[in-house]
């Protein structure tokens, strides 16, 4: 098995408060791991440990990827650099000449539909456009590990759909290992090869795609949202229709969704 990321007994606390408790996780190459869980469960902390921004208190982290990129919740663009330079800088950091980096950056901006915006500064772009620049920056280095940290959480529904569609389109063209953190399981269920769930007690459970129904129940999805998720899963043959529990159906009838 070709492992991309391996975490062994990772524990992390902030000011004595445990955020991750004895986490074990293996992500294989070209896996699309959907990392779900409620707010404050430790999803982003786990991602920060993988991207080496945070060190765990205990446990080991093995990342067998050289080119790691991340699309954060906020675009995190340098406000004093143009869209083109923001995409080009990570390439320059990897030793590419400025001219070549800018050329590649231009091509990626084109791919995310921002041709003509190369010389715009982040403040001149909408939040959706800024996030598209961040996506171009993430893909431009041709990552062997792509981390998505709730990339659509700060966007309006229309931009949310557009950005996820764009990520899916780019991932169809460019296969890579993805760890996607979100608290909205509907966002990328159809892409996920495996689903991990961090609960309120900061424990991680990894499910196979055939067990997605269990994950949805763990997420507390009820009513219409649950049915939408089930439809999505069925459409992609993730689970069988028999997995939908009657209790949830009852909620729909009672209008509790």
């Amino acid at each position: 098995m070709n492992i991309a990321v391996r975490l062994k007994s990772v524990t992390k606390s902030f000011n004595g408060v445990k955020v991750l408790d004895n986490i074990d996780l293996e992500v294989c190459r070209n896996d699309y791991l959907l990392l779900l869980g409620p707010n404050g469960a430790g999803k982003t902390t786990l991602l920060k440990i993988i991207m080496n921004v945070l060190k765990p208190d205990k446990g080991t982290v093995e990342v067998y990827c050289k080119r790691i990129s991340c699309v954060f919740q906020e675009p995190r663009l340098l406000p004093w650099k143009t869209a083109l330079d923001n995409v080009a800088l990570p390439l320059i950091a990897r030793g590419m000449s400025k001219g070549k980096a800018r050329k590649i950056a231009g091509e990626w901006l084109h791919k995310v539909g921002l041709q003509g915006y190369e010389n715009y500064y982040p403040r001149q772009l909408s939040s959706g456009q800024q996030q598209r620049v961040a996506i171009a920056r993430a893909f431009a280095i041709e990552p062997d590990l792509l981390l998505l940290d709730e990339p659509t959480s700060n966007l309006d529904p229309e931009n949310k759909r557009y950005v996820m569609k764009l990520i899916k389109k780019l991932l169809n063209e460019f296969k890579t290992t993805v760890i996607h953190v979100t608290h909205d399981p509907l966002e990328a269920l159809n892409l996920a090869t495996r689903i991990a769930y961090i609960s309120y007690d900061h424990k991680l459970q990894v499910y196979d795609r055939s067990e997605a129904g269990k994950v949805l129940r763990s997420c507390g999805l009820t009513g219409v949202s649950y049915m939408k998720a089930i439809d999505q899963l069925e459409a992609h043959r993730f689970i069988t229709a028999s997995e939908s529990p009657p209790l949830i159906i009852k909620n729909i009838h009672e209008g509790k969704s």
């Binding site: 991207m51 991340c70 004093w80 800088l89 990897r94 920056r137």
Partner: protein
């Protein structure tokens, strides 16, 4: 509508200039009245002061002392800036170091300039080095505080992003630290110059062997009141020139840059 607003602004600007000119004339008139009332020895008239200034300029003394003051200021402010900048960077990144530097900062910010001048004289005697030392010591804490605040205010999320994308230390400095701190760098530079010129002239007066401050002291010692006024006028002119030529444009550039971002 837009044209009339611009016109009104231009009128207002000219109006202010005119009022400034009136204020200047009032000052000159008061000076002349005081001179007539108290006599030429205590308050030399504006014309006598200008004549003395012209004489000093013709003899080359004015330019010589002015250039010495500028050398003292530039060296002292430069050393103070480098010292404060380095310490501010270290303290900004290592908060423990900030606590170690705190006593130095308090002394530097609160000690009256004459106290520092007397101690500097005790250590290094009278001369150029003492003046430069005094200027550096007065400016360094101001730069330190401004730079430290700048480092603290750098967006941690941008630094995380740079770490993920493997920015080199040079790229971090060039593309994140310096642009993020530009307003603080400009503020510290302007502080260094604004307070530096006062410290330099005072240092020259107390413990210098050259410069405008020293010339002022020498004129006072010889009881040459017209020269005292001429050198005092030079000091004011110098401080105003630095404010108008360097400090104000730098401040407005930094403000404009910040607004654009």
């Amino acid at each position: 509508m837009k044209t009339s607003t611009i016109h009104q602004k231009a009128l207002a600007k000219h109006g202010f200039l005119f009022l400034n000119f009136i204020g200047f004339l009032v000052l000159l008139a008061l000076w002349q009245i005081l001179s007539i009332t108290l006599g030429e020895f205590l308050v030399p008239s504006p014309s006598t002061t200008i004549t003395t200034l012209a004489r000093l300029a013709t003899k080359g003394v004015l330019l010589q002392e002015l250039s010495m003051t500028l050398v003292h200021l530039a060296s002292g402010a430069f050393i103070g800036f480098i010292l404060g900048f380095t310490m501010g960077l270290i303290a900004g990144f290592q908060r423990e170091v900030d606590h170690i530097f705190n006593p130095f900062k308090w002394i530097g910010l609160t000690a009256p300039v004459p106290v520092i001048a007397v101690i500097a004289m005790l250590w290094f005697g009278i001369g150029d080095f003492t003046v430069v030392f005094l200027t550096a010591l007065v400016t360094a804490p101001l730069v330190y505080v401004s730079i430290k605040e700048g480092v603290i205010s750098i967006d941690l999320e941008l630094m995380e992003m740079a770490k993920v994308y493997k920015f080199t230390p040079w790229m971090m400095l060039r593309h994140i630290y310096i642009p993020a701190m530009i307003a603080n760098i400009v503020a510290s530079l302007t502080h260094a110059l604004e307070f530096g010129i006062r410290a330099t002239v005072f240092g020259e007066f107390m413990c210098g062997k050259s410069g405008v401050g020293y010339a002022l002291f020498a004129a006072w010692y010889r009881l040459s009141s017209s020269e005292v006024f001429a050198w005092a006028l030079t000091c004011i002119f110098l401080a105003c020139s630095i404010e108008v030529i360097i400090v104000k444009p730098l401040k407005s550039w930094s403000l404009k840059w910040r607004v654009q971002q």
